[in-house]
Point group: C2
Chain length 194, copies 2
């Protein structure tokens, strides 16, 4: 009798412990879900950099304009390069894959990079800028780590993503452009080196 009672007791305790553990697990899960719902992603409130890494000018003939800048600075004309093809760059423009590419020339100035961009190929924010505004400064760029959280932050601030793409040169990286002209007077670009 005693043995059976002890066994029952033991069984009871085990069941109790399991139930308590399950309840605790449930509470943790529910609390976690609620916390996640109230702070969907931990969004940054602002950019964590105030360093303009790039000023970029969209032009019709990148070789010609590069020559004029080189003459202004008294330096050699830097070689132009082409953005990666769509299958490597995974470029999207207004949410859809695009064959838009660009011929680029970079001047490494003292405190930032001057980028000259000649749109080639399919639709892109560069081509759209050139067709709407003519030649001019297309964007200013900031370097970030964790592009996605800044995409979410900027969309929340009313500056939606317009174009994104990747590059394979050096360590590789990705760029994102935002429709921020109405808010800031100029398009923003975020650059992330992987």
């Amino acid at each position: 009798m005693l043995d059976e009672k002890e066994r029952e007791n033991h069984m009871c305790k085990r069941v109790l412990i399991t139930v308590v553990m399950l309840v605790v697990l449930c509470v943790i899960t529910v609390a976690g879900t609620l916390a996640e719902k109230s702070e969907p992603i931990s969004l940054p409130e602002s950019l964590d950099t105030q360093r303009v890494t790039q000023v970029a000018v969209v032009v019709r003939d990148v070789e010609k304009v590069a020559k004029a800048w080189a003459d202004l600075f008294g330096v050699e004309v830097p070689k132009s390069s082409l953005t990666d093809p769509p299958e490597k760059a995974h470029t999207t423009y207004l949410g859809k894959p695009t064959k838009g590419r660009a011929k680029l020339v970079f001047f490494k100035l003292e405190n930032l990079q001057l980028e000259l961009i000649e749109p080639v190929g399919g639709p892109s924010t560069w081509r759209e800028f050139l067709e709407t505004n003519g030649e001019g400064v297309h964007h200013i760029a900031f370097a970030v780590k964790g592009t996605d959280k800044y995409v979410a932050m900027l969309e929340k601030k009313g500056m939606p993503l317009v174009q994104r793409g990747e590059w394979t040169a050096y360590t590789g990286g990705c760029y994102t452009y935002f429709d921020s002209v109405q808010k800031l007077g100029v398009a923003l670009e975020l650059l992330e080196n992987y």
Copy 2:
């Protein structure tokens, strides 16, 4: 007799020295004039800086746009200021005095100044830009010493002066804007602190 001969000799030497000195002086003057004629002003061949000190955005409502930038950077909204009145700024636009002024907000970023410009008053390169292009980057600026020689250099390179003016704040200084969009894709500004 000897004394007189010596005196004559002495006189002769003096005259000779004077003549030689005059000839040397003439040669120096003529050489100087010729040199000046072959190099009318000693024009620089290029800018002697590759540091972009300012990126400037022309906007319709400087207070509103300043608020958006301050929010982006997580900083206080800087106070706006007004360019000096024409009688102090001696502003000229396309070669003629103008009453054009601007309401300015400056963000002192890590590596350059971000300037927001709202055109007010009479005609100006800022107003013309806003009317033609809408909001956008109006110019990028470089700091120089000896504005006039760079004005001559840029005009020689096909980038004529568009607007100039002065400011009295701090140590005072002058700015010059150039029509360089066709050559460089963007307007240049030269800034000189006195």
